[in-house]
Amino acid sequence: MIRTAIAGTLLQLLHLLVALAAAPLLLGVTRFAKSRLQSRRGPSPIQPYRDLLRLMRKETVLAHDASWIFRATPYLVFSLMVIAAGMVPMFALDLPLASAGDLIAIVALLATARFFQSLAGLDIGTAFGGIGASRDALIGSLAEPAVLMVAFALALVAGTTALPAIARFVLSGGVGVDVSLALALIALLIVAIAENGRIPVDNPATHLELTMVHEAMVLEYSGRNLALIEAAQMLKLLIFVSLVAALFAPWGLAAGDVLDLLELGGGLLIFLLHLLVGAAVIAIFEVSIAKMRVFRVVEFLGAALILAVLAVVFRFVAEAS
């Protein structure tokens, strides 16, 4: 009893460490692949680590009008992301924290982080912060119903919203070629693009443009506050990539006894593979599409919502027959 508790805690700690270590790498590899696809040399894949270190060492500058919200937000957002990352299976399915919250809890955590980020954007009172916060709220208010619908579709397919249970259901092979799952996957991918501010919705590589969303919101942050916010953003990308991987391609993840080292190693390898594939897919998608106007995002996310609703409807049809 105590042994399993210790093993579970160790596994959870290892999971968090791996997540924190892998998040900058994922972003770095994505940027690297993207610049190579655009025939640029691009920064080395470990550049995000250097960025974070440099930001940590730099002085933090606060505006005179900054209230406690502005100062607390980086820590809040980062810790919310860490908690959410602790719940998503990455290389092992049975995390102790995973039983604490399901897909809906993760959505709620991300929404809370987004809420505080928007508040902080408004707090300073600059024009860019306001623009960013309002656009982020627009995107969030459209992305959340879509991702909740995806959760409902998955719940109808697998009978639960708990992530390890859904992954196990997919692993059991009882799914086959399922329309609902395919539609839910596309909807989740669209939501992931929007949530992470990747290219058709927001350009993560731009500063000081009128079209930016996330960068506009965090424009006033500097030093370690900025480092925390950027780290949270990297974790968010990692969360979505591993969420998609764990829900739709959980093969090879460590699913059995918690301290089976061989299985853990295999799970880690598969996890790395997932990250590489995720980075490659994001890079290819981003170089082949242009950024949308902000008000087109409504339709883009509306399409995600519609796909998720269709997934639920198809499941309903299949259940009824």
Partner: protein, 221 residues
């Protein structure tokens, strides 16, 4: 095992057709509408071919070929040429906004599902699902015709409606008339295409003689 795969694949093909219907609704450009419609017709051809294989009904291959050649390739190319030749409205003119149309589309899918499921309690699962999906495609075709002002997009709506009919026809076992039906419909479509072509030209030349104006200004396309 084979039965479940056959079931899953035909379900998937039907869903693809319906999804392509939504893609048609989503497009803002006339050329995008045509491409999405071609994708839908190819999906219908795939569904028909799969049904022909799994039901061992060779005549459905003919239906698949007609759908692929006529509606997947010929009609989009012809409409494409008309659009380019006449240089007519590249943007889709909508009577209702695109987002509202998509929502209405989802409503129609729910309506079709609710309508078909109680009526067909006694039939096999595959038939019921195919009928529900096909009815949704038909209704979305209607929606397309109602909410788009441009004649070309209306014809696309009509043809995607016909895709839904073909989907319904191939999903039901033992329907030999389907070949004749689809040929007849295709002829009708061709008739409409040419009618619209002539109509457009006549309208262009009667109301606003662009070509003579252009030659007068010395422009050449």
């Amino acid at each position: 095992m084979f039965a479940t795969i056959a079931y899953d694949l035909s379900h998937m093909a039907g869903a693809m057709v319906l999804l392509a219907g939504f893609v048609v609704l989503y497009q803002r450009r006339v050329l995008g509408v045509l491409r999405a419609f071609a994708a839908q017709s190819i999906a219908v051809a795939g569904a028909a071919a799969w049904q022909a294989y799994s039901q061992e009904a060779p005549h459905l291959y003919v239906t698949a070929a007609i759908a692929l050649l006529l509606k997947g390739i010929a009609a989009p190319i012809a409409l494409n040429r008309i659009v380019r030749r006449l240089d007519i409205h590249r943007t889709v003119e909508t009577a209702v906004g695109i987002g509202a149309t998509m929502l209405a589309g989802v409503g129609l899918v729910v309506l079709a599902t609710l309508l078909v499921l109680p009526v067909t309690v006694s039939s096999a699962a595959l038939t019921r699902e195919t009928l529900a999906i096909a009815l949704s495609v038909v209704l979305i075709g209607f929606l397309m015709m109602i909410t788009r002002r441009n004649a070309i997009t209306q014809v696309v709506g009509f043809m995607s409606l016909e895709n839904g009919l073909v989907l319904a026809a191939v999903g039901v076992k033992g329907m030999p008339l389907v070949v004749e039906m689809s040929v007849a419909f295709s002829l009708l479509i061709a008739f409409i295409l040419f009618g619209m072509f002539f109509f457009r030209i006549r309208e262009r030349f009667d109301t606003l003689d662009l070509q003579s104006i252009e030659s007068f200004r010395g422009e050449r396309r």
